[in-house]
Point group: C2
Chain length 323, copies 2
């Protein structure tokens, strides 16, 4: 099994510590390691090689963070077209019988016995020709994720991000799992299903891959591939999908509110203040009368955000980018 | 009349824009001018000379901010001993018949017809041998200031900082004025009253002044002068005190809450946020879900403070100083 690491994060949701030039998967904020490095570390015991698909401009950043002795192939996208094309490009790069463990590079996942168990289960199903998705057992009624309605290993439906009431009913039922963005399948099975359900993506991705040099995709070829996610393009349509539940530690770090749970605050001086996350390496931070807040300083950029509202941080990036 | 400008602020209440090395009176935050410069500008039409008393380490800072053509004498204190000694040192430096307008350097005062009227009234009374204090007509029930209980020009009592209930009754009565820290008197009258009510300060300040060279007071001499404010040492005891009410614009800028009213926010990107003061020259600031807050960034220092609690900012400085 090879590990396909998807490094396409755009870096707008954790501004200002994450930026388009330096997205969060490359930030060394977990004991000086990045999420990208932790992803490789976590999968190394289970995989005999790595494929990393990333933005062309991040290649040097990524190379600096990996051990030169590891077997790592890079595919560079000049522009992102979402996950269905990215995964297709990687599948063309390996033998069709090769099993790929597809993992986002920017999630924090516990590398424990639960992870190991889920991986073996997924690899077995992939070997049998299934497209396997990993479902996270929900721990609360999150409205920001899609859900998978499952019965054992069978997927009954993919569900859009629910409202709070629906999310609560999902949580209570016990049959709904968070859609994790992790997958496991044979390259050939994915490509066959992609060809069936999204033939234009398949066709254009094949041309783009065939024209590429040293893993670098041409800009025009890339722009010819329709944008779509693997969920919409393949998983929600294919009848070869199975789900493996994962009950270990999982955090998608999609916002400062998720970071709140896992990152230690920089030292700060707090007067009449509590329940704050402060990330401001190398700065002196004083808080007075501040509660339930996220304070982040990086270089000349500064964010103050109420806990629970950090999903809206990307709006700041949009405004900064003049959108 | 000469203007005695008192520049002894310690710079802990507006951290991080104000610091012990760069206290608030020297910050160019009002159309690129400092409060110190605004004080000189405001009093120039009424005074034929300036005496500036300041910490020795701030001499160069002050000199850079003044026009070399102005008649300004500096008295440098190696350490602060509060206002009664500082004013005494200045009084020894001028003729005893000289009228001194004593003004803090770090208040924001409207230089309008009300100011002019109060000044002429005070100068008249000073000419007659009175110690004149200026009383600000309160605009709300402030608990952070001392009050002057007055009947016309006569002072009936000096009152300590009141609790909120008392402050409200002061406001309602109309006979209570905020103690502004501005005074006007003949140098000789102040020294005579100081000699009478605080003879040790008088005596030690005289020695310190006589031993000084080019306005620089010796450290040991300075340490020999007891610390006290002009209010405690003289004004509350003397029977030569008169008060002149001042109804113009006045703001002591003693905290970020006072600054809130008079300083424009640096440009910032605010999402679902309102009623915030942002001072962060040269930084990009994003706020999400932040209300009624003060956000200040200067160099590598950062403050976030709830509006209404900025009196406690000095506690951060105390902690930084290891107190």
């Amino acid at each position: 099994m090879k590990n396909l690491v998807i490094c396409g994060g755009s870096g707008t949701r954790l501004w200002p510590i994450s930026t388009p030039e330096h997205p969060k998967q490359f930030l060394p904020i977990f004991n000086k390691k990045s999420l990208f490095q932790l992803t490789l570390e976590r999968n190394l015991p289970f995989c005999d090689g790595f494929l990393v698909i990333l933005g062309q401009k991040h290649l040097n950043l990524a190379k600096k963070q990996v051990d030169a002795s590891e077997q790592i192939d890079f595919i560079q996208e000049p522009i992102g077209r979402n996950t269905a094309p990215a995964i297709a490009l990687a599948c063309f790069a390996v033998d069709e019988e090769e099993i790929l463990l597809v993992s986002p590079s920017d999630h924090l996942i516990g590398a424990d016995k639960y992870y190991r168990k889920s991986l073996f289960e997924a690899e077995d199903l992939a070997e049998k020709g299934y497209l396997v998705t990993f479902g996270i057992l929900p721990t609360y009624a999150e409205t920001g994720y899609g859900y998978i309605y499952a019965k054992g290993e069978d997927v009954l439906a993919f569900c859009e991000k629910p409202d709070l009431k629906t999310a609560k009913s999902y949580l209570d039922s016990g049959n709904y799992l968070w859609n994790s963005g992790m997958f496991c399948f044979k390259a050939g099975v994915y490509l066959a299903e992609l060809k069936k359900y999204a033939p234009k993506i398949y066709e254009m991705a094949k041309i783009a891959y065939d024209n590429s040099t040293n893993g670098l995709i041409d800009m025009d070829d890339m722009l010819n591939i329709p944008k779509d996610s693997i969920d919409y393009a393949v998983m929600e349509k294919s009848d070869k999908v199975k789900v493996v539940p994962f009950v270990g530690k999982w955090n998608d770090l999609g916002s400062f509110d998720s970071l709140f749970e896992v990152v230690d605050s920089t030292q700060s001086i707090q007067i009449d203040s509590n329940n704050n996350l402060v990330i401001a390496e190398g700065k002196t931070v004083g808080l007075v009368g501040v509660k339930d807040s996220i304070v982040v300083a990086q270089g000349n950029n500064l964010l103050v955000c109420k806990k629970g509202e950090s999903q809206r941080v990307k709006e700041i990036c949009d405004k900064l980018a003049g959108k």
